[in-house]
Symmetry: D2
Subunit: 350 residues, 4 copies
């Protein structure tokens, strides 16, 4: 279709770490690539990674759920027709699964949700998608499901292949509540002495700041499931370096940081319910992406989905490193600006 | 701090267009660079751009507002101390302006807002920042303002240099309501015949889909000021190609598409109240970025701010092109998947 | 506990209508009681009710779903313990159902959802509750479920009997997405001539206003699933008159009005996914409430739940009447103020 | 217009307290009337009131702001016409103030905000309204402002007297950010021993629960500025007892509870930015309302606005009492259910 010449936008990239991870997906140390124009991100994440290597279990990353969603939009005769259509689909879920299974070796229909507003019916199909993030896989599957619906269900007509109840790359609540992408929780327990030496702060100061800034400050701003300082920065850097669709940082950034003082030490956690990542698929054919994924250990021979889960867990651990570091910095007056200025100077002298 | 080697993540980039723009900032035709792993974006935006060249005024882009914000967090003795602190700051706004003016040739304090929750005081300083997006400029200015506050205002203590009431790279309502970044509205009036030939749909179908998908669908999803199909995709591509901090697509994507049938023709508009872009500053020193900004006409000798406004308007017009094209495609069953498959095939045969 | 004297706040009440209803719950005409300090509400709802009697099917009210929810909060050792706890609960759902069934003749556990944030686990139990709105029934059941959890599941401790993921009387997205209360859609198709004569407007004007005000205006305001003009007014009046817990209008008001022009006529619908009403339980022992419920036909000998469903449908139809009337009024400059002034004068002359 | 007979819905009412208040509006002790079907509310608020009498300053209530808003909707030729219209209005603000001042002895225009989406212009007029909550006053004033706009501003047409950017009785973010109603913060510092004896819990338990339930739980639920347990309950009871438009509890309930442990004692605060109350106006002519307002000391000869401010402060203090009591109860397993059962038994034995 397009006969334009394709060049590249070479975004600066550094490997940081290693960070140390354990949990229900992987255990080990790993360096992480981050591509970004915001170079202070590298030492910031690096500081968090360093800390992870100093504590016994490192960052404990727990995969809670994984799924990809696409919601079609149907125009029904009226609300009753919409109710009846859903009843039909629920009683024929087996056939819907077959329709999906025929579209791909990996796509599997695992759940459905719906919304009815007046005569409009939004059906949110939820899939497992193997090692792919699954954008195209679920669009393709939903296309076939749409054909099935239009052929078998009376009283409904085509509205749209996507009805925004999915919801892709938009700030909504549905993804956090019903799930879209990998849902990963990362946790770390940091001894007080390490907090003091490496983060130049106290557990109490971090916990207080988290409540005031990430929870209350965001709430006052009219925030939507976005109780954190800057998940978006780490997600962008990681997504660009690994060939992900970085527009998904919109919903990816909707996560919550929770911290507690435990016996004088710092418990710090990041919950990322909408991590849309894949180790295969769009953006993955590029040489440097292949190389990065390989170096991350995400191109191994494994069961379908395992490489993507490893990738998600590493991404989430990276987010924790950057979040921890910035939060600690903001407990101290002037520190954020100082570190930025220091970066600028070191760049100029380089 | 970091002595790591910096390499690059070369994100694929194409120039699309030209698109045609008029309005209160610029008039003319312009090709646009988009860096993305999602190659179908190029022909999609290209289709919208083509249409803009076919109508008399092209895309009419109106700059509504511009400002950059940073909110500091203060811990007050109690709510009354917070009220008194704000009263002090309001009655000393002239001095605050002086403090800011000393930090930069371009930073100017233009407004303040605040929130009080219990004993917590969030002061949102709003600045003009010349041609820079202004992240660092406003952090630096806020650092000095914080010093001023701590030196002059009794009953308040340092909380954080950023209290999330700014709000940076998070899904919140405050930016759309109080403003952060450039606020740009883009509009186009497309004759029915052009809608039919180039978009293979009708004005009525686009308008209905917009109401059902972008307004109602998003609302059902628990969306926050996000009535659009995929602003995030165009923003990401444009931001990466022009050296912007692409994590700002989180709030940048919170905009609203509004369409109407007018005498049988299609009125189509995109409102983007949170476009955080700059033609100078972080990310702008890279050769390809300089080159792209130059080719976009955003490195001319102009009054401070004019290059950035041109950049914002071109960005917003690009968003309209991609939004229009996808919306039109989704009015037709199967079209979205078809165009993706076609792309895949053309890539494989290349 | 309290030995205070109980008096009453006699809120003014009128019966309006009758309105005409059909659909999957009931068919018939019914007058409706509304208790409110805002007396213009009566003629406003009355106008909508009148219109319902002029069209063949009246207001078509469709019950889409019904459930009541309570979410407990558990403190887990860590995220993995939370995951394991949920796995335990899902594999013992049968026992959980038994625990619930022992607490009441009517309470039945029908579904569970959960959220994990760091080491916090929120389990949202969803119940059917017969003819009761079910606030106390589900608290009682959740109390027993909490006992069960604490006795059987390792690694979790009591956090709270309610963790706000329920979510009761707060503006959230979860209720609309997962369901809480009755989910009722009401629809009416009004011939153009009736719109013109009784509402003094056109279908086009109502549709345009709905898009601009209820959808776009609310979205700009940072609204959350609240695309309507004033559902809260009708809900308050109906809830007070029928002994409901009127604080539930907070989530009850989170519904969406959708209108279309169909062959020149007006299709108008109200979707109310969070109607928390009951025909028995708290507030129902009062004489006037009994009387009102009886006159509404909601104290008949019927299968458990049927009286409550009738009540929900009548409530939703009442909402449509008031919404339609106000929307029509606001299409005409000055009409809203005129009708208020007219009311005031008629009160003064009375 | 309506010739129906008006009866009443006698909602059960009790006076609770007294509670003790100090701050920038009033100092003193005051009993409070609460009308509700949820009788456990009385002892619950009573417990909080008791505690307020045991600490030196009682509940410190700080009025932060007050205003009432109405947003008109204008259809502009295009976005530029909307921008020009706002420029015109801002440069003629003096005349707009005159227009408003002629509509009422008390209505004063104090600020304006606006939103532009495509060709739609929403102008949010903000007023002071003396002792009235001001619903009708601002509608009347906006009606005249609309006349002025249509007569003087070119390129805009009537859209609606209310464009939902006000925003009345809907769950939105705009009211908390721009202000609507009285903004009141209530705070109390409770010695550890009193927490232990009267609330049967510890400061730490309350603080932890507040973070987990009110902040994180609400955030997970997709909550919008609603970090509290049950403000809506107290607001409803207070509003009904004092003749307020109780549908305004929808936005009134959007407030935030913040608690801290201070030297072993409990700092507990409730922030209510959207308290829409008045001591005159609609609903105030009824005998029992007059009586209640008089007993509350809100019908005194004072400067305009002072009676309403006293009312707001008493309302906010009542909210704190109920919130504190419920939060304390939920720190203890089984306590909430126990107190409900106890109430039921005492009612049956009565």
């Amino acid at each position: 279709m397009s006969t334009r010449e394709t060049s590249t936008a070479p975004v600066p990239m550094q490997w940081v770490g290693p960070l140390k991870v354990s949990g229900n997906v992987m255990t080990g140390s790993q360096e992480i690539p981050l591509a970004t124009y915001e170079s202070p991100l590298w030492p910031s994440v690096g500081r968090g990674a360093k800390i992870s290597t100093l504590v016994e279990s490192g960052i404990v990353a727990t995969l809670v759920d994984e799924r990809m969603a696409r919601s079609i939009l149907l125009e029904a005769d009226d609300a009753l027709a919409a109710v009846n259509a859903m009843a039909y689909l629920r009683s024929h879920e087996h056939e819907l699964r077959d329709v999906v299974a025929e579209t791909s070796r990996f796509a599997r229909l695992i759940d459905m949700h719906h919304q009815i507003a007046g005569n409009l019916l939004f059906v949110r199909f939820e899939f497992s998608t193997g090692d792919a993030s699954g954008h195209n896989m679920v669009t393709h599957a939903s296309d076939r499901l749409m054909d099935y619906v239009l052929a078998h269900v009376s009283g409904v007509r085509y509205g749209s292949i996507s009805g925004n109840y999915c919801s892709d790359k938009k700030a909504t609540a549905v993804n956090g509540i019903l799930g879209r992408g990998k849902n990963v929780v990362t946790e770390i327990l940091i001894p007080r002495a390490i907090v003091s030496r490496w983060l130049r702060t106290t557990p109490e100061a971090v916990v207080d700041l988290n409540v005031r800034k990430n929870l209350i400050g965001t709430m006052l701003a009219g925030g939507l499931r976005s109780g954190n300082a800057h998940y978006a920065n780490m997600l962008l850097g990681f997504y660009l370096a690994t060939g992900q669709d970085a527009a998904n940082i919109v919903e990816g950034s909707q996560g919550i940081t929770h911290a507690e003082v435990r016996d004088g030490d710092l418990y710090f956690s990041c919950t990322l319910p909408n991590l849309i990542v894949g180790s295969v698929g769009n953006g993955k054919g590029l040489d440097f992406v292949e190389e990065n994924l390989t170096r991350l250990g995400c191109r191994e021979e494994r069961e379908p989905g395992e490489n993507a889960r490893r990738l998600a867990v590493l991404c989430a651990a990276t987010v924790l490193c950057g979040e921890l570091s910035l939060m600690a910095a903001q407990t101290n007056p002037g520190e954020l600006m100082q570190s930025h200025l220091q970066m600028e100077r070191s760049k100029q002298s380089a």
